[in-house]
Every structure is written in C-alpha cells, then in structure tokens.
Amino acid sequence: MRPQGVLGVFDDLRVAAEAIRRLKQSGYARLEVLSPAPHHELEEALQPARSPMRFVTLCGALTGFTCAALMTFWMSQDWPLVVGGKYVWAWQAYVIIMFELTVLLAAIFTLLGFIVLARLPHTRLRLGYDPRFSDNRVGIWLPLARDRWDEAARALQSCGAEEVQREN
C-alpha cells in the first residue's frame, strides 16, 4: 500500500517537541519526526530506544581482529622466515596488524550498519518529506489511513503547526 498520511510543519523546536508529547498522549503512536539537525529536545520528547550500533561496531572489531590474527599466524607458518633464531610466530609484531584490521573492519561495519539500520538508501524521497526539513523547519509525519486525516490535521494545528499537508 502506498504510504499516506498527514504532515505538520513546525518553525519552532520547542513547539515541535511539545507537539510530539501531546500527539503521543493522544494515541498517535506511529509518528516520524524530521529535522535539519539532531536535537535533544526532539529526542527527549520521542524517547527512542537506544541504537544497536554498538553491537554492529563490536562485531566488526572482533571480525577484524580474528581475521588479522588468523592471517598473520597462518601466513607466517605457511612461509616460515626464521630471523635470528627467533620464533616464527612473532606475535608482538602482529599486534599492529591486528589493531589496524580491528579498526578497519569496525569502521566498515559501522558504515554499513548505519546504512542498514537507518533504512538507507532510497533514491526517491518518500511521502512526508519537504526540502525545508534540511533547512529551517521541523516536520511531524503521521502515517494514517484517509478516514483519520481530518482528525489528525486538527490535532497538528492545535499543537501549533505552521502548516498542515495531507499527502497520498
């Protein structure tokens, strides 16, 4: 089904944050807030669950470390260069490779994790977007069936929306 709903445009951060609280209290559980920058006011009003990004980064870091450890030890064993009668497995030197690959894979996993978790990319901006949201406006998008539009539009207006758009 094509997304459809009502979009409220706000020109004041505090008003938008208060609107989020009031809309949530009125039972609009599914609302999406769009803003030009991250703001604590909006975050406090929305109370989102913590991003699971840390696990993604940790997985990347562990993968990098493991790959580097396996690579250095196995390759040294596969082509043993004995220098000065020292052990073939010169793990002290390999720590550097392990560290670098830990960071490398952690960063790559973080970027990919961010793209997947934030549900990017999409080349067409979906409904409920307005170019002003990257400029100087905050938007509250309520994805709703058509029969609830009037009620939602009134609710947004009463919360102080500068403008209300119905989109389908």
């Binding site: 803003s35 991250p38 991003s51 390759m75 490779i97 670098e100 960071v103 990319p121 067409r124 100087n136």
Partner: protein, 449 residues
C-alpha cells in the same frame, strides 16, 4: 570587531544553508586560476615521475647510504599533515570541544587528500611502481607471503586503514549536509548526484539516532588510529638500529609533530578560504585562537623532543649517536637543522601572545613557517641519519634533492590542493547540520525563517 558583528546578529537556520552552501555555486575566476595552477603543478610532477619510470631510478639523486631521499621525507610529511583532520574531527569530538564544528570538515577533507598524496610516494619510491601490489598479502604461485615483522608492512596496513577509515568518517559526516545541498540544488545533474550521495537522507529521528551512534563509534575508533598511524610511521625509523633513529621517543615525537604540522596546514588553508568564501561569520577569531593554542601546545612537545633527543645522545654515551647529533647541529646539514628548530620550536612561541593568536594573517605566516620547519624536520631525520650509519667509510656521503625529486615534490602540492579545490566546489566544506545542532530554532527570533 568581527566577533562583535557575529555576536550582534545570531545567524538563522536559513542563513546557515545559504551562506555555507554558497561555495557550491559557480565560482569566480580566482578559483579557476587556482585550479589551473594546481593542474600545471600536477603535470610537472607527472612528467618527472614519467621520466623516472622511463630512465630508471638513477635519475633520483639518492644513492647509498641515503637511499631514502626526498620521497620518504615527503611521505612522512604528508602523512603528518593528514593527522590534524582526524584529531580535530575525532579527538575533539570525543572531548566535546565546540570550536571544532567550524573547521572540522575542512580538516577532515585535508586528511583524506593528504593520505592520498602520501600514498603516492612509496609507489614512486619503489621504482618499479607497477609491482607495488607485492606489498599486500595475496595468494600467489610462488607461495610467498609478506613479512609481518617488517615495519614497512605495518605501514601498508596502517596507511591504507587510515585512508579507508578517514574516508568513511568524512563521508558519514557529509551525508546530512549533502542532503541539505540536494534540497537547495536546482541544476538537474548535480541534484541527481547529491541525491545518490546523500543516500536519500531525510533527517528522520531514526536516521539521526543511528547517525549519531555511528559517528560516535567511528570517532572512538579513529582516535587510537590517529595515534597508531604516525607511531607506525615513526617505527619505520625507530625499529632499525641506525644512529639518530633507534629511540623510544620516536612514536610520541612523531605524533606530536604530525598534529603540529597538520594544524599548521589547516591554518594555511582556513585563513584564505575564510576570506574567499566569506566565512568570517562562521570561522571566528575564537576558532583561530583555539587552533593557535593547539599549535603552541604541540610545538612545545616538539621542542621538548628535540632537546630530549640531544640529551639522550649525550647521556647514553654511544659515540655514533653522539657523532650524529653533533653533526646534526654543526655539520654540513646544520642549516637545515637550525631552520627546523627555529620554525618548529622558536617561532611558534609568539603564539603565547593573545593578539597574535587572534590575527588570522599573522597566523597564516606562522603556519607557513611551521610547514617549512616540519618538512625540514623530516629531511633532517631521514637524510642526516642515513648519511651517518655505523659504517665509517660512507660517513662523508650527502644527499640533495635533484630536479626530478623537486618536480615530484611540487607536483604533490598541486595534487593535494587540486583535490581540495574540487572538494570545496562540489561538496559542503562546512558542517551545516553540526553548526545547526547547537543553534536554537525559534519562531520569529531569527532562528526560524
């Protein structure tokens, strides 16, 4: 006076977009002239490299024992330059230093382009550049692997990781700002490219939540990486037993020097950039003041390291080590060493004066001295130590850059600045969203429309 103007009229959200993204509009003649100049330098460098490839390594003036001539000097110099970007974007982010917002994008872009420049030098220096892939462990018919005990192999991993991670860091931070550029753009091709690059970013709270988390973890991993990369570069030297190199101070000394030179080049770029792009309102004197303090702080560490190096040479009593350091100060390479000390440890002391820290063009001049001094430092470390090994029979050897090295050195500047100019033209050079993050969005109070 400039700060007073900024204080009187707090910028609005719209002004942030208009003023900070205006560099993406058609540039003036100055821009094209600068770009053409950079391309000319690149062509000079490319011609020199081509000459070396065709005629062989003899055209490169480095001979035994100073096999590492200007190429490795340039490599260390450019890797050093690359350090301020991640320092400003990652370390200062973790420390919540607010002044980074105005300059970090510039510094981060600088990092990526400086690593791209640095990476060219090992490729040029190996002579048979087409075989550079031998440095990477890959399965091959001869069943050979790279030697993981070699600092040069550590370097391959450190520098390529640094390039990848700093590119990821730069790109991640750019996504919301490219979206802002996309929404303002009217030219269809650019709009299409920005739409692709911004990944369809809309600025939903869910996107911001994951963005902030990703940025935090990238910063957390980039911080030790910055320190590790130049430490690894320093171990290219310190792991050998050459007099003048074999010292435990090398890693911290190199890291401090790298940050010092990097902040120096940020100043060299930020001062004219601020003027040309009319960013006086955004990059204020307070920002310069703080960057100058960072310069001063790292300069003091570098100056201290110079003293410690001399002290250690005297203190541990090794005659070879003593000879190298006496020769460094009073031998044929004395002038280079004294330029290094003057530019890196003495001239920056004027930054103790607040008036100088708040005068952009004075800082610009000081930053040029810093760039010169830091290049000389690497020249002294590489060449002076190499020409004084334990073997007394080669102790009269010397090295001076010839025409080919000069061409490649000059070309590297063209290459770096051309990328930077292209970046400033096509992608947001200022962090639009991050600057807005700390601004109130208020109806009718200048914040809104």
């Amino acid at each position: 006076m400039e700060t007073a103007t900024a204080a009187q009229a707090p910028p609005s959200y719209q002004e942030v977009n208009v003023e900070l993204l205006q560099a993406l509009q058609s540039p003036g003649r100055q821009y094209w002239a600068a770009l053409a100049f950079c391309v000319a330098l690149i062509l000079w460098g490319a011609w020199s490299w081509n000459y070396q490839l065709v005629h062989g390594m003899y055209v490169y003036g480095a001979t035994h024992p100073a096999m590492w001539g200007t190429y490795i000097v340039n490599f260390v110099f450019w890797v050093g330059i690359a350090h301020s970007g991640t320092l400003i974007s990652a370390i200062l982010f973790l420390f919540r230093a607010q002044f980074r917002r105005a300059i970090y994008r510039m510094a981060e872009a600088m990092t990526v382009f400086a690593v791209m420049t640095a990476g060219l030098f090992p490729i040029i220096h190996v002579g048979r550049s087409w075989n550079i892939y031998f440095a990477v462990p890959y399965p091959n018919q001869r069943e050979l692997w790279v030697n993981f005990r070699s600092p040069l192999v550590w370097d391959v991993f450190a520098v390529s990781t640094y390039f990848t991670v700093s590119s990821i860091f730069l790109y991640t931070g750019l996504i919301p700002d490219i979206a802002a550029a996309r929404d303002r753009e009217t030219r269809p091709v650019r709009k299409f490219v920005y739409t692709i690059l911004s990944l369809g970013w809309r600025g939903t709270q869910s996107e911001w939540k994951h963005f902030n988390a990703a940025y935090l973890y990238l910063a957390a991993f980039a911080t030790p990486l910055v320190i590790s990369v130049h430490s690894v570069v320093s171990w290219d030297f310190a792991m050998s037993v050459n007099p003048g190199w074999h010292s435990t101070i090398f890693a911290p000394y190199f890291v401090a020097g790298a940050i010092f030179s990097g902040v120096g080049l940020v100043l060299t770029i930020a001062v004219p950039m601020r003027k040309i792009l009319h960013l006086e309102r955004w990059i204020t004197l307070d920002h310069f003041d703080k960057m100058a303090k960072l310069c001063l702080f790292t300069s003091l560490i570098v100056g201290y390291s110079y003293l410690v190096e001399f002290f250690l040479a005297w203190y541990h009593g090794d005659p070879f080590e003593r000879h190298v350091f006496l020769n460094r100060a009073f031998g044929p390479m004395g002038p280079e060493a004294w330029i290094m000390i003057t530019c890196n440890a003495i001239i920056p002391l004027v930054l103790f004066w607040k008036k100088i820290r708040r005068s952009p063009w004075t800082l610009f001049v000081i930053s040029l001295f810093i760039n010169l001094g830091m290049w000389m430092e690497r020249f002294v470390i590489v060449v002076q130590s190499l020409t004084h090994p334990f073997d007394p029979s080669v102790n009269t050897a010397t090295y001076h850059p010839g025409i080919i090295e000069t061409g490649i050195f000059v070309g590297s500047f063209g290459w770096f600045f051309a990328w930077f100019l292209l970046f400033a033209r096509f992608l947001p050079i200022m962090a639009v969203a991050e600057i807005k993050e700390v601004m109130p969005l208020r109806r009718g109070a200048g914040g809104g429309a």
